[in-house]
Amino acid sequence: MVDLKNPYVQVTETECPRCLTVMTREAMIEHKQVCRGCGYHFRMPAAARIHLIADEGSFVEMDADLISKNPLSLEGYEDKISQAQKKSDLSDAVVTGTAKIDGRECVLGVMSFQFMGGSMGSVVGEKITRAMLHGADTNKPVILFTASGGARMQEGIFSLLQMAKTANAAALLDDLKVPFFIVLTHPTTGGVTASFAMLGDVALAEPGALIGFAGPRVIEGTINKKLPAGFQSAEFQQEKGFVDKIVPRNELKNTLSFLLKTHGGA
């Protein structure tokens, strides 16, 4: 279970990779893990994210007990999972639950890049799907924060098929007209991009987030040259028509609140 009593336990003193400003742990927490110097948005652990978005004490976690199996009997996969669990304090790469935002109920899911690069295996696929179906079932809008390097290859074909599973849940949400909002955070790539992450009614993104299907290195391998700066950034994706709005982290809660308020007529 995600520990919301200590939402910032994973936050540490950090140097900004863009402007080299050093932020103390306290400054990181105070500035919502956004660089004081240049506005760079650091990756955020799931607990801190929930603390930032959900009304105090409103988050109730769902499906915290889902644990990955090893369907390919791949050597070392169980160990990797255990290590990731220890490192992140999470059972897998997504935390889901119900929450309130400015008093309005919703289903909230937050992916964590810290857990094996936010990769989507059976557990992530199942939890995301259950969260969406819970929203469909109870008519609560669904908000998902994405952060993922793609499919979890260690689970082979099963990880690929999680894309179909989450997209099917998104289809049901859509047909039932339950609002579905996506917040794309750094980075969101691979199978997550090619499934539920691109299926929201409204797609928000954090500034500078990398968003794409193929990763930059794969693309560079295809064309045998460097990509221009900013390729696949949130700003690029807004210009290309795939992101509704880029929202700095300190405005995120207000923006989500506005969306919940204006999607109540369904």
Binding site: R130, L133, E155, K165, A194, M198, L199, A214, I219, K240
Partner: protein, 319 residues
Amino acid sequence: MDELKNKLEELKDLAGKNNLDINKSLAEIEAMLNVGKDSPTWEKVQLARRLDRPGALEFINLICDDFMELHGDRYFKDDPALIGGIGTINGQAITFIGNQKGSNLKENLYRNYGMGGPEGYRKALRLAKQAEKFNRPVVTLIDTSGAYPGPEAEARGIGEAIAQNLKHFSLLKVPIICFVIGEGGSGGALGIGVGDKLYMLENTIYSVISPEGFASILLRDSNKAREAADIMKMTAKDLFEFGIIHGIIPEAPGGVQNDPAYTAEMMKELILSNIAVLRKKKPESLIRYRSRKIREVGHFTESAREEQDLFKLFTRLFS
């Protein structure tokens, strides 16, 4: 198993002599029996990738009495890497969609080696929606190493395009029958791979990443593709044992390129027999069954918990 096969042959002969149309269900039995055949994974990878392996259009022409290719996504271009159109079998109209690699260098270049861009997947969705509108079943033929990983495809939303297909195919109100006819590579394959039935030809593969990619990322040695292929469990037999595909369609000795008509005939029979059955279902039960099948895939443990009841959701959907 061999005995069973012999019996099957005898039964076929008998049926043929008596002019009985039991071939359709026989094809299905055969597809499931065929699971027994086995050969090294790497051999299958190579057979699946052969240049002279028949592609989607070749199979369509063998399967259909008549076929009209339809072009274009209505947004940006016609993508030759992903083809589609309307075919007839015994006068029955069916929408066909497939990856198309091309069978020589010139064709490969024109068709971008079957690596579809967003336009290809959007064309596929347009044709699938058109099929739904006019109550035509859909058959998809999968044969791609993956969607095109180039900057244009990214800029025009290849991820979004595949996502939309996964979403809309999963609730399409007509039967969808999918065949892996060569390489089933990652999201590019899945983008036309969501349906009611999924079959693989005997010497085909279907995986989340190429064995080369798996080797270089997880085994940290790009030369270990052969080893990776075994670890990944990507053959028709593997996927049948996982319960992910519904059957394996035999190929001629040495590969389907040696006798495409033999395999096409089996596919044709499977298409007809499946459509006959799936057509009888109401759209709501068709997509409920399809959704349940999609939902089931995954391996994890949890404390005892009530399974979420999809039935209730679907009841709302159709009320």
